[in-house]
Symmetry: C2
Subunit: 109 residues, 2 copies
C-alpha cells in the first residue's frame, strides 16, 4: 500500500516534465530505442536524456534491456493505467456521468 502510494507520486512527478513526456511519446511511436536514438529526439545532451530516462525507469514507466553495448528502452503503460484507474477516473468519470444525466434530461423533454 505504501509502495503503491510512493509509486503514484513517482509516476506523477515523472509525468510532470515536458521532456519526459516527449520521450514517452518517442517510445510510443517506436518502442525499444537506444539512448543515442532518443538523444536525437530532444534538445539536450546525452547526459540530460540519461537523467530523464532514469526518472522514467524508477517510476516504472520505462523498462530496459541490454543488447551488447546498447541499452534498449521500452514503454511500460501499466503505471499510467494504474493512475488512470485509481486516480484520474475518480475525477474524470463524475463529469462524464453529469453529461450523461444532462443528455438523459434533454431527451426527456
Amino acid at each position: 500500500m505504501v509502495t503503491y502510494l510512493r509509486g503514484v507520486d513517482l509516476v506523477f512527478k515523472a509525468l510532470a516534465d515536458q521532456t519526459r513526456r516527449d520521450l514517452l511519446d518517442a517510445l510510443f511511436t517506436e518502442d525499444g530505442q537506444t539512448l543515442s536514438a532518443l538523444e536525437g529526439r530532444v534538445p539536450m545532451t546525452r547526459f540530460g536524456v540519461m537523467k530523464h530516462l532514469k526518472v522514467l525507469e524508477e517510476a516504472g514507466l520505462v523498462v530496459t534491456r541490454k543488447r551488447g553495448r546498447e541499452k534498449l528502452h521500452f514503454l511500460n503503460p501499466v503505471p499510467i493505467r494504474l493512475i488512470h484507474d485509481r486516480w484520474v477516473s475518480k475525477y474524470a468519470e463524475p463529469w462524464a456521468a453529469a453529461l450523461t444525466d444532462l443528455k438523459a434530461q434533454l431527451e426527456e423533454s
Copy 2:
C-alpha cells in the same frame, strides 16, 4: 493549441505534488471549502496552502468565489478530463485492448 499545450504542462505539474493531490481530494469529499478549512487538512501553515491553491487555480483545477471575507474553493474536473482524453487514454487504452484481445483468444480455444 499552444494554450492547450501550456495547460497540459500546468496540470501535470500541479498534480505532481502530494499536498496538492490531497487538497483536491479534500475538495472532492467536500466542495467549496475556505482556505482556513483546507489549512486544517494538511500539515502546513496557511501560507503554504495558499501557494498550493494558487498553483491549482492557475492550472484550472480549482475555481474560487469570494463570499464576504472568505474565499471558497471548488474543484474543476475538466482539466483532468482533458488530460485523460488526450493523453492518458492514449497509453492506457492499448493495454486494455491487449487484454481484450487476449481474452478473446483464450475464449476461442
